[in-house]
Symmetry: C2
Subunit: 323 residues, 2 copies
Amino acid sequence: MNFEIQILGCGAATPTAKHMPTSQLVNVHDKLFLVDCGEGTQIQIRRYKVKFQKIDHIFISHLHGDHFFGLVGLLSSMHLLGRTKQLTIFAPKQLEAILEVQFEASQTRLSFPIKFVDSIVKEKTLLLEDKTLEIYAFPLKHRVPCSGFLFQEKPRKAKIRKAFIKLYDLGIEEMVNIKNRTNVERPNGEVISWKECTYDDPPVKSYAFCSDTAPSPKVEDVIKDVTLLYHEATFHSSLKDRAVTTFHSTSLDAGSIAAKCNVGHLVIGHFSSRYMDKSILLEEALTQFERTSCANEGLKFVLKENPGEIEIQDMNRSKSNCE
Amino acid sequence: MNFEIQILGCGAATPTAKHMPTSQLVNVHDKLFLVDCGEGTQIQIRRYKVKFQKIDHIFISHLHGDHFFGLVGLLSSMHLLGRTKQLTIFAPKQLEAILEVQFEASQTRLSFPIKFVDSIVKEKTLLLEDKTLEIYAFPLKHRVPCSGFLFQEKPRKAKIRKAFIKLYDLGIEEMVNIKNRTNVERPNGEVISWKECTYDDPPVKSYAFCSDTAPSPKVEDVIKDVTLLYHEATFHSSLKDRAVTTFHSTSLDAGSIAAKCNVGHLVIGHFSSRYMDKSILLEEALTQFERTSCANEGLKFVLKENPGEIEIQDMNRSKSNCE
């Protein structure tokens, strides 16, 4: 079952010709989630030929412009393209009024309903779940209220080894129990361990998105052991003071957090526009944590079934970027 | 003295991979004016290596998103880049509240003052002038209040032919009068005509911007004889009904308006996303008016001293578009 994160933008607040502001598409089990929506996100979505209307849930981490200024344009386009189905937006409360005043000015009455859900939470909180996936918000430490998001697969049913069906002559009801990870107790007192009869679980895959945050133990508790961590690394540690004042992280911070939290793979992003060459940020993070990549527009991080294996695809290669 | 219009975006409301929404840089006598500011305008400004802080005046024609959604991001960037000097924004009144609610949410207090001036007028109205230039707003005919903008050089001082200085033995005060287009009356009753003593005037250059509008005689009165007319041509005339319902113009309309108004050159833009190939729009406008060009991102229209001469430069050629 697929689990992919595509970077649409990974720059910080001031725009550059190299990077778009923060936005990502998270595709889990063929459901498409948009995470943050900086200016130009809809242009990026078009560029990578993703269908707008497949997005039913949008997550906005906080109300600094580089994380949401593209939302009103995206919603307008969904409207112009005739969307009718509901869209759910998880975002700080004030966003509703911000959108309203703009649609009022243009005399636009959206063709589809929006359900707003407050994304600002005091502790890790379940926002959304379906049969196979749970999505949580958790508090980040920034200058304004700000949330990270955690996408986590639910454990699947256990898979029975055929040999054990024969060995214990398992009945249908007994097999259901074992798949549900429950031991079987027979009338004669015999106990059959579900663990013994099943394959080792492929670990559940998970992704944590930490948009803008100072390092914080509370955040570390939540992102422990995730398969993939996106963590901001706005500055190099030579600008640690600036990072502290602005409630951001350095590339050194991002690397050590990834190491401390035992994550599978780290992607750094939200690069300050002062870094024309991001290799000094990557190199610094790598001193702390080996499995680190730099975000870049068009990169897709695919979480594989093989525990901890990440495939990185460059979506720019499959199309001309100079349209 | 320079007079140039650079297209930053010329698409209509729904975004495409080919066109950005409406925005233009008008550079007259080395003053830089931004006209409309669709989403992504700041990215375009960066792309063409124009300095943000050289813009002191912004004109917003109306509050449909494709004409102003990029403004809040541009202002945020000006702030982050440390601007302190005043910015004047000519726009519909509601814009101030729209910006305010967004800066409030991000707890941003801009580092520079903004002066808001209502751009919605009942008739052609002077918005701004300096020694050499006048800028007017005039009402367009659209679904929401909407203004066009007219940039017009003031007549320069007349240029005296040297031979006449000698012929009439002109004194300094007499020459000042002649430059100011006043006849000289000498004590002996002799009248020297300023026209006789001066070169024929190079015609004053002018530019009219008609963002979104249905054809209207009131608009035609204002744009008569302009050197360069930008006129929207959202649809081909085969969709005339749709143009009428949405208060837009067809490429046939744009061409005939240019012909009727005797303009020097016509640039059509605001192309509906349905036209992958704009040549059918250009061809239709050309049936009505020969001196027509299609807008395109990065094209610069330079008004030359030679009456009616327009030079078209492609700013994409001077740089890589695939950064």
